[in-house]
């Protein structure tokens, strides 16, 4: 009898430790490179990390003498490391600002790689139908001006839905994030009040709501809190089966984000994308365009001291824009429109 509590406590303790071990399992190990091999180091955005990891690993399988390492330390960190010259290339969800480009020692090119989207996820128990959001409603909810789910403004675009009279709990990201940038950039475009009061950035002074860390934190809070609404990456929502609503685009069509409607948003902007690809594609024109999308970029310097590295970068970009794009959909990323790919292939020649 006396052994039992001891045994169970030890078992419990062991279980706790095992959980800890599972959390910190297998760090990626890198094989020692061959003598004449080329090693590239990059750092930046975490959003495209899964597909970058696949690309770099696949590319290494095709060319065993080439190894590309990528650390997903965040867009801001990627830009900082690129500017300080500690990495060969950077990666960012938001394009670099003019000021940042001015700080760079060499010209830096933006190469869009895939597209991401942000979706509104909510938790209203017993709702009969999926919700439709107009841009004004989203802005007013996040401004705190709409605080009940049965607000007439919400009801107007959701005829016949049994909206409850419960409080809306707004959930946003507490960490600085490209996802927040896309979301606040969109709200700034559709709501002058949002633009003047809050503005767009990777982190803002939120008028209302709770903060969750990462997509998983926001999703967790939304799932746990009745009456909550939060914004998360489409990639995360698709892979984890999180429910989300439709959003009205600039052509007046309510669209549920999917990979096709995200690619369509980039196509919608095709004519207006500037030569350096630095553009926000939120609130895109076109009936088929989902309005809350963005490119994610590789940031490549135009000059490399090492000629070998330069050639590897050029070859990799060409491969990524052709074969690599096929990896996008299986990993829930939206691929680039053909027109953008064609323009990027031309830009590769600028790398000297």
């Amino acid at each position: 009898m006396k052994r039992l509590p001891y045994l169970s406590t030890v078992l419990l303790g062991t279980a706790v430790v095992l959980v800890g071990l599972v959390q910190f399992q297998s760090l990626p190990t890198t094989a020692a490179p061959a003598p004449d091999s080329v090693m590239l180091n990059g750092a930046g955005a975490s959003f495209p990390y899964p597909i970058y990891a696949k690309w770099f690993s696949d590319y290494n399988k095709l060319h065993s003498d080439i190894q590309i390492n990528y650390q997903s330390i965040g867009s801001g960190g990627g830009i900082r490391q690129l500017l300080s010259g500690t990495v060969d290339f950077g990666a960012s969800d938001a394009p670099m600002t003019d000021q940042q480009l001015g700080e760079a020692k060499t010209k830096i090119l933006h190469f869009p790689t895939v597209l991401g989207a942000v979706v509104p996820s909510y938790n209203i128990p017993g709702l009969s139908k999926e919700l439709d959001f107009t841009p004004d409603v989203l802005a007013d909810i996040f401004l705190g001006k709409i605080s009940k789910w049965n607000d007439p403004a919400i009801a107007k675009s959701n005829q016949g839905v049994n909206l409850p009279a419960t409080d809306i709990v707004v959930v946003h990201r507490s960490d600085a994030s490209g996802t927040s940038f896309v979301w606040t950039d969109y709200l700034s475009k559709v709501s002058p009040e949002w633009e003047s009061k809050v503005g767009r950035n990777i982190a803002v002074n939120w008028p209302v709501g709770l903060g969750g860390k990462g997509n998983e934190g926001v999703t967790g809070l939304v799932k746990q809190t009745p009456g909550a609404i939060g914004y998360i990456e489409l990639l995360y929502a698709l892979q984890n089966g999180v429910a989300f609503g439709r959003v009205r685009n600039s052509a007046g069509v309510f669209l549920k984000a999917d990979l096709a409607s995200v690619t369509a948003a980039a196509t919608g902007f095709e004519k207006t994308i500037p030569a350096d690809f630095r553009i926000s594609i939120t609130n895109a024109p076109g009936k088929a365009s989902y309005p809350i999308c963005s490119f994610t970029y590789l940031l490549i310097p135009t000059t490399f001291a090492d000629a070998k590295k330069k050639q590897v970068v050029k070859n990799f970009l060409t491969w990524m824009l052709n074969d690599g794009q096929k990896d996008a959909e299986p990993l829930s990323y939206a691929r680039l429109p053909k027109e953008v790919v064609a323009r990027e292939l031309k830009q590769i020649s600028q790398i000297q």
């Binding site: 001891y6 900082r80 507490s174 809070l221």
Partner: protein, 326 residues
């Protein structure tokens, strides 16, 4: 190389080598140099840390001055930053953690050292030491999946019903917030308090207990009136160790505190702590002012820890002077 020489023939030959080598060999000089180096390196790291934090936060220090400490806005878009909500959140969650953890931890330590049968005591001590080694992200997950839903559904509505007349327990029950942050911290620091306090209590000389019992004290009287006061300073030390951990704890708090830089009287309201906001926003932060402000927050946390540790020291000294056990 630096072992204690055994006087064999070979060692005798070695003795004839130079004085320095002999000094090193005998261990004294070597030990002196080595330990001095260890102590100096700690000092060096501290100085380097403060220096780096200081020079890398020049922009916000010049822009906001001491107003930074009382500013309440956190607006990365317009570059307007204030630290007060974070200082507030850090202090409140840590205070809450101690409020819960100290009685629990000291109580458990007394039970384990004085009252429990050795078998149970040893088994539980083993588990407690395991708990002290669990990474904080695990406590954060525990917070998200168990504590937060529990607080939202049962804990906070219950507190509101019983103590709702106090501003501390008003407002909507989100689950996440200051209360959740403080409770997760409490769970995290309890093992420290128990483990250190138990060791201190066990170290109280058995004569102290025997003397008390011989004078006719009951078991509990001897524990509470003699053993605990005798071990008081050690127990205090365990509490301040826990406070230091609570002030700087990052991951677990970040996951449950609600990530909102606001000052609210209610413990149910979401808040933010200094360590949490640095962890949350540093990786992605762009722009010199934003990054340097986060670094300045690190400086503020450092200063806060020093002030609190200083106060703790003063407190210990003042209680020792009028103390009974010594």
């Amino acid at each position: 190389m630096a072992g204690i020489p055994i006087p064999t023939g070979r060692a005798a030959v070695n003795r004839r080598t130079s004085g320095l080598v002999q000094g090193l060999r005998s261990g004294d000089t070597f030990a002196h140099l080595f330990t001095l180096l260890c102590a100096a390196s700690i000092l060096l790291v501290t100085v380097a840390l403060v220096h780096q934090l200081y020079i890398n936060s020049a922009l916000p220090r010049h822009k906001f001055g001491f107003h930074f400490l009382i500013g309440r806005t956190w607006d990365p878009v317009n570059g307007d930053f204030g630290a007060l909500p974070f200082i507030y959140g850090t202090l409140i969650t840590s205070a809450l953690a101690l409020l819960v953890a100290v009685p629990m931890g000291v109580g458990a330590a007394i039970f384990l050292s004085e009252l429990a049968p050795p078998r149970i005591s040893n088994a539980m001590t083993f588990v407690i030491e395991l708990l002290a080694a669990v990474p904080s992200v695990i406590y954060g997950l525990l917070g998200i999946f168990i504590l937060v839903p529990f607080l939202r559904q049962y804990g906070e509505p219950f507190l509101k019903r019983i103590l709702g007349f106090l501003p501390l327990f008003q407002g909507p029950a989100y689950g996440v917030g200051m209360l959740a942050g403080g409770l997760v911290l409490a769970i995290m620091v309890v093992p420290f308090i128990i483990s250190v306090s138990r060791d201190v209590l066990m170290a109280v000389p058995v004569e102290q207990r025997e003397a008390a019992l011989a004078l006719g004290a009951t078991k509990w009287e001897s524990t509470w009136e003699v053993v605990v006061p005798y071990a008081r300073i050690g127990i205090m030390a365990s509490i301040f160790l826990s406070l230091a951990r609570a002030l700087g704890e990052t991951m677990a708090v970040t996951m449950v505190i609600g990530g909102t830089p606001a000052i609210s009287a209610s413990l149910f309201a979401p808040g933010y702590s200094i360590a949490a906001v640095i962890a949350d926003q540093f990786a992605e932060a762009t722009g010199d002012l934003y990054i340097q402000t986060l670094i300045e927050l690190g400086l503020v946390l450092f200063a806060l820890t020093i002030v609190i540790n200083g106060l703790a020291r003063v407190f210990i000294i003042s209680t020792t002077k009028k103390g009974s056990g010594h």
